[in-house]
Amino acid sequence: MPRTGVFICHCGTNIAGTVDIDKAVEASRNFPGVVHADEYRYLCSEMGQDIIKKAIEEQDLDRVVVGTCSPRMHEATFRKAAAEAGLNPYLLEVANIREHCSWVHKDMGEATPKAISLLRAAAAKAALNTALEAPRLDVEKRALVIGGGIAGIQAALDIAEAGYEVDIVEREPSIGGRMAQLEKTFPTLDCSACILTPKMVEAAQHPNVNLLTYSEVEEVKGFVGQFDVKIKKKARYVDSVKCTGCGICWEKCPSKAPSEFEMGLAKRKSIYVPFAQAVPNVPVIDRDSCLYFRKGRCQICEKECPPQAIDYEQQDEIIERRYGAIIMATGFDQLDPTIYGEYGYGQHPDILTGLEFERLFNASGPTGGKIVRLSDGKPPKKVVFIQCVGSRDKARGMNYCSKICCMYTAKQAVLLKEKVPDAKSYVFYIDVRTAGKGYEEFQRRAAEEYDVAYLRGQVGKIFPEEDHLVVRGVDSLSGRLIEINADMVVLAAASIARCDAPEVGRLVGINSDSYNFFNEAHPKLKPVETHTAGVFIAGACQSPKDIPDTVSQASAAAVKAIGLLSKDKLQGEACTAEVNQAECSGCLYCEAVCPYSAISPVEIEERYHGGTLKRTVAEVNPALCKGCGSCTVACRSGTINLKGFSNEQILAEVDAICLQR
């Protein structure tokens, strides 16, 4: 029986509060194989780890059991400490007596016996632990960024600056993302294009950055360090090399279609670039509205194009490349407020969402930068902004606060005053949230210098009357009904996750929360990492965010990726499956269920009655195996076992945990 040491942590009062530590230490002494039991207030601290290391050397321990917080929290810490004391890190076992015991059972009488049985199970498992070595995997020195908005661009530039190759895959014909649709950005009101376009150009020209626009990721296989990705480069029907971006084609093109970039408020040609400063400045042909593709006629763009760059025969192209790290920067959408019938969105041209109103400010936008009513083209006198449309709404919308609406509404109210001096803005709000640097000051200026009326309350009904819209709301502070004959209504619709986010997330093996935002590994300590090693997230795809937070997350994700790419070898998974080939009957059921195709048949020779017998058995490639264990259950005779969670260990844990004493 290996010599086992048990160490129990008080965790201040987190554990000691409801678990009788001394009783647990006493009980641990008579577990089978335990020769040393100790406790300390903060085992994970420097001092705590030294106690363990000293005990390993002095007591000549070959197994260690620590009764502390969740293994997901400090298993790595204690394994490192054990390794420093010369004990193979995988000979240490953690009993989770905090999250799974002291924190969830208030009464000492219940928590202590449970902690003891969890410790007994850990000791039983530790006794059967074996010394393991994690395989060393090589790392492809190239990163993949999915999403070409400000988050993707910033992350890609940081990675490129660190000297690594990086590909940006962007679904739209140009990078730029949501930020390209903005006119000004809060709180400094600097023009969005002026700060974004240089970054886009820098990304286009950076030797290490490769733009794959109008492309989508089709398939991701492999694992951290060796992601094999298939990218579909959709056919643009324009030769990117020849095209000079002169614009003659989209000037002369006769057929039009609603512009996605302008949120449908304006039209674009069938051959188009989404916006003026598009990078790359190479148009794409939209098959659904192009006369040539629909009826085989026209072909004006082909005739008019000086460098003859149009190529109707261009086909979609699948690119296969290997990457070491992946950053998801897929951005967000805005809620469609038609679910709020009382606001009448979609039934009147002068009721817009925040993003649509933002497009009106843009010089190359649907109204050329002039703020006019879309119904009759006259400048609006009274504009009503309604906050929290779909946000903070448990019943019909999203339960969370979208974080950016209070600020962009204040910004739009200020811009409105500058463009239409005699316009009056009203903002129906529940709470104005201005928690960023310089945010509160900016919002107060909007209220004080730009005469924006902030009404604490909500709107019950909006209905058209003659040439204006009657907005009926309440000012809950004064308790009075408010009725405004508004010329325009702007709904600050919630920021929501992309509708296809779960599928895109599953491509790279990460899951999303109930709102379809990607799940970070830890909300506070690992905000840009995910549970899948090598896959990082940045920006609004993780939760609604403003530009400063998005950019800082992008750089954070970039640093995580760089940290990964800078390693020449990566530590793989130590707890992998292993076949006892003498007993393997070669049915290969394990191979059928292995999600990572880490198991393959191999021919072996066996002595049999004097002669030799050739037969097929299974073999595990430890570099590919991730240790899920599905093969061990598909195998009927248990000849394929999982190191670290072996059949013997789990049975021992069950036996130990069921002992009621």
């Binding site: 049915c587 290969l588 059921y589 097929t616 598909a634 005779s637 072996s646």
Partner: protein, 324 residues
């Protein structure tokens, strides 16, 4: 031995003789009469006079495919006579990579359904000397005289529920096929047990499994039990005790049945070979019924290309537990 049996045996012998003597196979697995007239036991024929002992009658219930596992170790090419269930057993072994298809020649024998001696003896009432068969009737010849019985009544349990008497895979078909049969009562017993309360069901199985001697005859006869070392005999880890004791018996039979989930060909050999007559087939049939109901009809062994249901999945599979 009925005359038509003699003709059939002659036909079979002719077919296999050319292959055996011609060297295409160096062993033939067939049946020969056993110690009693109502026993037909496996025949390992390697020469012409071995073939003289060849027998084909209504008692050839033993599943010959199972013997391939051992015989293929010593013999290069083996011929085997396969009824409907034996052929499906062969497909089962093929799917488990236990038998190389190119070293086996299958002689298909559509099966009329094998008779149950205990039922014949019970029907005869006194010492049964022999039987003859004509057009669906069995003539029971005893010391006191003769009695008639409907052949279908005298079938083995496993043959009464048989749907596929014709071999699903063969190299040569030696006798005319019979066509698929209806088996309305296949899951009758399962449904009866399902209708009981948990307590009653437990009492039923407790009584049944308490008789289990752990002789593992069921495992030895079963085409899906092809592990080199069965989990019950393993010491490290010690999955299972050796004593025949209530909880151990439950563990063995539940796990053995589970190992057959989506793999059991419902041939009934386990029940037939069980010395204490435990209704083992009902455990397997319960799994077959549930898997058909949950994940689509699947008849193990009919088509070796079809993947066993528990080795694959569909993202929108139903579950037998709440998924809310």
């Amino acid at each position: 031995m009925a005359e038509h049996n003699l003709e059939q045996i002659e036909k079979i012998r002719e077919a296999v003789k050319q292959d055996l003597l011609g060297g295409r196979i160096d062993l033939l697995l067939g049946w020969e009469k056993g110690h009693y007239w109502w026993q037909s036991r496996p025949l390992f024929a390697q020469s012409e006079e071995d073939l003289e002992k060849l027998a084909w009658d209504s008692f050839c219930a033993v599943n010959l495919s199972r013997y391939l596992l051992e015989e293929l170790k010593e013999h290069n090419k083996v011929g085997v006579l396969v009824k409907g269930c034996d052929a499906r057993a062969f497909n089962r072994l093929l799917q488990d990579n236990m038998v190389p298809r190119d070293r086996v020649i299958l002689y298909g024998l559509p099966c009329p359904g094998m008779l149950d001696y205990d039922r014949l003896a019970a029907e005869a009432g006194s010492v049964l000397l022999s039987i003859t068969e004509e057009n669906g009737q069995v003539v029971l010849i005893t010391a006191e005289g003769e009695a008639k019985a409907d052949r279908d009544e005298m079938l083995l349990d496993k043959c009464r529920g048989c749907i596929y008497p014709d071999p699903a895979v063969y190299d040569q078909m030696l006798l005319p096929p019979q066509g698929e049969k209806e088996s309305p009562e296949r899951f009758k017993k399962v449904e009866e047990l399902e209708a009981m309360s948990a307590q009653e069901r437990f009492a039923y199985w407790e009584k049944e499994l308490s008789r289990c001697l752990r002789c593992y005859a069921c495992r030895q006869a079963c085409p899906y039990c092809s592990c080199r070392e069965c989990f019950v005999e393993q010491e490290n880890p010690r999955w299972q005790g050796r004593a025949y004791q209530p909880s151990e018996n439950f563990m063995f039979h539940l796990i053995r049945a589970y190992h057959g989930a989506g793999r059991c060909i419902d041939c009934g050999e386990c029940e037939r070979s069980c010395p204490v007559g435990i209704s083992l087939q009902e455990l397997n049939r319960k799994l077959i019924k549930d898997i058909n109901e949950l994940y689509g009809d699947y008849e193990a062994g009919l088509d070796a290309e079809l993947e066993p249901p528990l080795l694959t999945y569909r993202p929108d599979d139903p579950a037998a537990f709440s998924e809310k």
